[in-house]
């Protein structure tokens, strides 16, 4: 249960940063936090009490004693995509800073109509 609470705390803290903060780097950090929260949630959903990691490193291990490997494989993909998204978002922040000389998103007036 504590894992659900941790995952949702991360998601909500990230969403708060995206909604309230005006510094663009903090907004990107918020997106990254949401990403981590979703990853923890997925892995927690795949966990089964008393079972071990899905690696047959020992002949005594049986498939019945292992947790679901599918969420772990999905999260492995999601982490890499998250890195790509964060890197691209920070690149756009760098370009916006070059152009407007500010990181404050409310000072970039062209976004408003």
């Amino acid at each position: 249960m504590i894992y659900y609470v941790a995952a949702f705390s991360l998601i909500l803290i990230g969403a708060y940063a995206v909604l309230v903060k005006k510094n663009m780097i903090k907004i990107v950090l918020g997106l990254s936090l949401i990403d981590s929260g979703v990853n923890i949630l997925l892995v927690a959903l795949g966990y089964i009490n008393g079972k071990t990691a899905p690696i047959f490193s020992n002949p005594s291990l049986k498939a019945e004693g292992m947790v679901d490997p599918v969420p772990q494989a999905l999260v492995l993909t999601a982490i890499v995509i998250g890195v790509a998204v964060t890197a691209l978002a920070l690149t756009i922040v760098i370009r916006l800073h070059d152009h407007h000389k500010t990181l404050d998103i409310s000072k970039i007036r062209e976004l408003k109509w």
Binding site: Y16, L19, Y47, F56
Partner: protein, 228 residues
């Protein structure tokens, strides 16, 4: 005002999310004969990889991993395009202290070896190409941070990256020619739990490790060069 509205809004969302998820019991097997158990039962006989997560990522869903590598490549390309400057920029950051410099010089080869170990043993232990590549890139980041004059050759990096990416696709095409499908495991599976086992999985993960390592290193270098 904005903060208050955001907190109330997120509080409502959080309450309903938690209320819903408390109905989903934690830590019990939900799907008794789902795809996960199929993978656990068939992973070792079908692919020869002791690590079932690796056999899913590289073999059962190998095409998906090719797409994932492509997304990473697109991000690196997009960064290169957005941060392109006519005149090459010089990095001008503070010089690190002598302790950091000496420590970085000792740690750098060890970090590279750890990264190589992680991606070579991806089919036996937790880890794999993506994790190993990230470790290698973190070693290069340590060097970028310690030595202001340290630089990597972008031509070499992009060559390594393209070569590793092509290796992945060529191994996949071998599966199409000699096996039954793209990325089929055409090499002998060997004994489970030894280094030379699992057919094409270690080869693909080594290629992915080189690709991710060089890509992230290039990405860090591009970003650090824009700092004036």
């Amino acid at each position: 005002m904005r903060k208050a509205i955001a907190v109330i809004f997120l509080g409502i969302i959080g309450y309903y999310l938690l209320a819903t998820f408390f109905n989903i019991p934690f830590g019990i097997a939900r799907v008794l004969d789902g795809v996960g158990f199929k993978y656990l039962a068939m992973g070792v006989p079908d692919t020869g990889a002791a690590n079932v997560v690796t056999s899913i990522v590289v073999n059962f869903r190998g095409f998906d991993t090719l797409g994932e590598v492509t997304v990473l490549f697109l991000a690196a390309t997009g960064m290169g395009a957005l941060l392109h400057h006519r005149e090459p920029m010089k990095r001008s950051r503070q010089n690190a202290s002598i302790i950091v410099k000496a420590g970085a010089r000792i740690l750098f080869p060890l970090i590279i070896i750890l990264g190589a170990y992680v991606f070579v043993h991806g089919h036996l232990t937790p880890g794999g190409g993506f994790q190993g590549g990230a470790i290698i890139a973190s070693g290069f980041l340590l060097m970028f941070m310690s030595y202001r004059s340290y630089h990597v050759n972008h031509v070499v990096i992009s060559r390594v990256e393209s070569l590793a990416g092509s290796t992945f696709v060529i191994i996949g095409l071998f599966g199409l020619v000699y096996g039954h499908s793209f990325l089929a495991n055409v090499l002998p599976l060997g004994t489970v739990n030894t280094l030379f086992s699992a057919g094409v999985i270690p080869l693909i993960y080594i290629a992915v490790g080189f690709k991710v390592g060089s890509e992230l290193t290039g990405l860090l270098d591009t970003m650090l060069k824009t700092v004036k």
